[in-house]
């Protein structure tokens, strides 16, 4: 193996005090050890070539969560990202600050957005009692269940790449929802139902996630925020929160497959809007008419899969099990 490796970087720069707040691209080339990480190369640039390049890092061991940035369009902890893995043939790497957060300078983003989202879920235990002596205790199993979400190091990678936050700054975001799940699942917390209800009801809450899985893919610690959001939805439904389009959508889908073996698209649209929600139903009409004119309105009486009665039997046996 050669003693050094050539790394080409294209870095998005931003200096609020300069050039009227405009961003620009700057290219660098460094020769460093072949085992180096992307962070090593950026530090090399800052120390050897360009002291004006701003970046944040601390532990260099994917524990502190300081060095999140976009590498070739995807958020990563650059201390955990080896150059050979993202540029195996010496390709130029594109480095940008994380998305959906305010850029302070170059590759440094403000953590305000991230923490304001986290604060919205009241990320602390609310126990119902004070133990007479000693600590609040919880079983090993219950804590093991929380390990995924407790691995969060608050780096902001999931927030950076969230496709909903891109269009809606009011969405509470993947990190905060995973954090909320951690408290709804903690046996020492007394506010499970209240937490579920509030995340179910509020604008920008659990039902606004699109299930795009970006957060699952970019999380460097295996928190899989979207999986936690799905568990929140399941728990919210079980706790009796049935007042949302999200609930009606899931319920309609579930029942449609049970009845027909297949999806009834027309029914799904109407059920999700709500049968008594006249404005929402009227809103669907032009789309239905346009589809009909093109000869592609889904059938009003749904097609069933052959053997759909077998699907219904399967449903009944599984539902019987969980009772």
């Amino acid at each position: 193996m050669p003693e050094t490796m050539n790394v080409k970087l294209k870095v998005k720069r931003f200096d609020p005090a300069d050039s009227g707040g405009k961003t620009w691209w700057q290219e660098y080339e460094v020769d460093i050890h072949p085992d180096s990480t992307v962070l090593d190369s950026l530090i090399h640039v800052r120390e050897q070539d360009d002291g004006t390049l701003a970046l944040r890092c601390a532990c260099r061991a994917s524990i502190c969560g300081s060095c999140g940035m976009k590498v070739n369009g995807n958020a990563k902890l650059v201390c955990k990202t080896r150059v050979v893995d993202v540029a195996p043939n010496g390709e130029q790497l594109t480095i940008e600050p994380m998305g959906n957060q305010h850029v302070v300078r170059d590759l440094v983003v403000s953590l305000d957005t991230f923490f304001s989202q986290i604060k919205r879920v009241e990320p602390f235990l609310k126990p119902s009692y004070v133990p007479e002596q000693g600590e609040y205790t919880a079983s090993n199993e219950s804590m093991e269940n929380l390990l995924t979400a407790m691995n969060c190091i608050m780096c902001g990678c999931c927030v950076s790449d969230c496709t909903v936050l891109e269009v809606d700054a009011n969405f509470i975001g993947p990190a905060a929802l995973a954090k909320a799940w951690r408290f709804t699942e903690d046996p020492r917390d007394s506010q499970r139902n209240e937490r579920l209800k509030s995340l179910n009801d509020e604008d920008g809450g659990m039902w606004d996630c699109t299930r795009c899985m970006k957060c699952v893919e970019v999380c460097p610690k295996g928190v899989a925020p979207m999986d936690r959001i799905m568990e929140l939805r399941e728990a919210a439904i079980e706790a009796g929160n049935t007042n949302t389009s999200g609930y009606r959508h899931t319920e309609s889908f579930y029942k449609s497959v049970k009845k027909n073996g297949r999806l009834d698209e027309t029914r799904l649209a109407i059920d999700s809007a709500g049968w008594t929600n006249i404005p929402r139903l009227l809103d669907l009409a032009p789309i239905g008419i346009a589809a009909m004119r093109k000869g592609k309105l889904p059938p009003l009486i749904p097609h069933k899969s052959e053997d759909h009665t077998r699907v219904k039997e399967l449903y009944e046996s599984v539902e019987g099990e969980s009772k």
Binding site: D168, W207, G246, E265, I287, A291, R310
Partner: protein
């Protein structure tokens, strides 16, 4: 090549032109298929929100049907691909869970051993047919046509369940296909983002912003069309484009969104009607005109 064919609910419902164009292209390529008419919906990740195990049972049942015929499954939908791949990934890693699911299938004489592979038509074209062989069936060179890829979340994430490490070419499959027909790729950051369909009935304002951003950006970058392997993305990006563009950008829907087999069909010289291009909400007339004027392939 022969496949257990699973067209999915939307290709048989709201996007019939996908089913028709896929069959036309498969026939031209000599791809044999047996349609899995008894298989249920995959659950699309929605049913799984309420009951993950129920979803896994329905999908494993489909895998077992294909396994009995000793055929790989072919799908036409990114969401079907993703949901099935995730279910397959889960049960193959956990023999106890698979045994539990198989108990439910025993009454039907089915038992899944874990050998079925699931391939979207897009992947099958590249991995099983091969681009060189595919190109031999083209009669036109679609040069000068700019096309933007749009994958659909479930076709790219989670990458481990979709076997990206073993099949790295899957990451650029639409781009490779666009180049194979002689077209030029219009690359844009939104190509692997969400189309907004899953929240269409839940938060329509956000869904419309996604549609307007993706179609508007691709158009601004010079795209003549967008190509997607996902009929759900298509429903939103095509069906709701007029509303989204008006509401969010104050302009008109002007970017046709076509299905993968329609792209191939155009290169094979098939007609607008054979590919169902007249069934789109956003007009495909200009695109068809360009394709018909394209030079013959030598």
């Amino acid at each position: 090549m022969k496949y257990a064919f699973y067209p999915g609910c939307v290709a048989r419902g709201g996007a019939p032109e996908l089913y028709d164009s896929a069959l036309a292209v498969m026939e031209r390529l000599g791809i044999e298929h047996v349609e899995l008419t008894k298989a249920a919906c995959t659950g699309a990740g929605v049913l799984q929100e309420k009951n993950l195990k129920m979803g896994d049972i329905l999908n494993v049942r489909t895998f077992a049907m294909a396994e009995q015929m000793d055929l790989p499954i072919m799908v036409l939908c990114s969401t079907c691909q993703g949901v099935m791949s995730q279910a397959n990934h889960r049960v193959k890693r956990d023999p106890e869970y698979l045994a539990e699911i198989n108990k439910h299938l025993a009454a039907e004489g089915l038992e899944y051993k874990g050998t079925t592979s699931i391939k979207h038509l897009l992947w099958a074209l590249i991995e099983d047919i091969g681009l060189d062989k595919l190109k031999e069936t083209f009669t036109r060179e679609l040069t000068g046509m700019n096309m933007a890829p749009f994958y659909g979340c479930y076709m790219v994430r989670p990458s481990d369940a979709l076997e990206f490490p073993a099949f790295p070419q899957r990451e650029t499959s639409i781009e490779d296909l666009i180049e194979s027909v002689g077209g030029t790729v219009t690359d844009f950051a939104g190509k692997t983002a969400c189309c907004g369909f899953p929240i269409l009935f839940i938060n329509q304002a956000n869904s419309m912003k996604m549609v307007a951003n993706h179609t508007g950006t691709a158009k601004d970058l010079g795209a003549d069309a967008m190509v997607t392997p996902c009929p759900l993305c298509h429903l939103n990006l095509d069906g709701y484009q007029p509303k989204a563009r008006r509401q969010v950008r104050g302009d008109k829907a002007d970017l046709p969104v076509i299905h993968v087999p329609q792209l191939i069909g155009l290169a094979m010289g098939m007609s607008e009607k054979a590919l169902g291009l007249q069934k789109h909400i956003v007009s495909t007339k200009e695109l068809v005109r360009k394709a018909e004027a394209a030079p013959a392939k030598v």
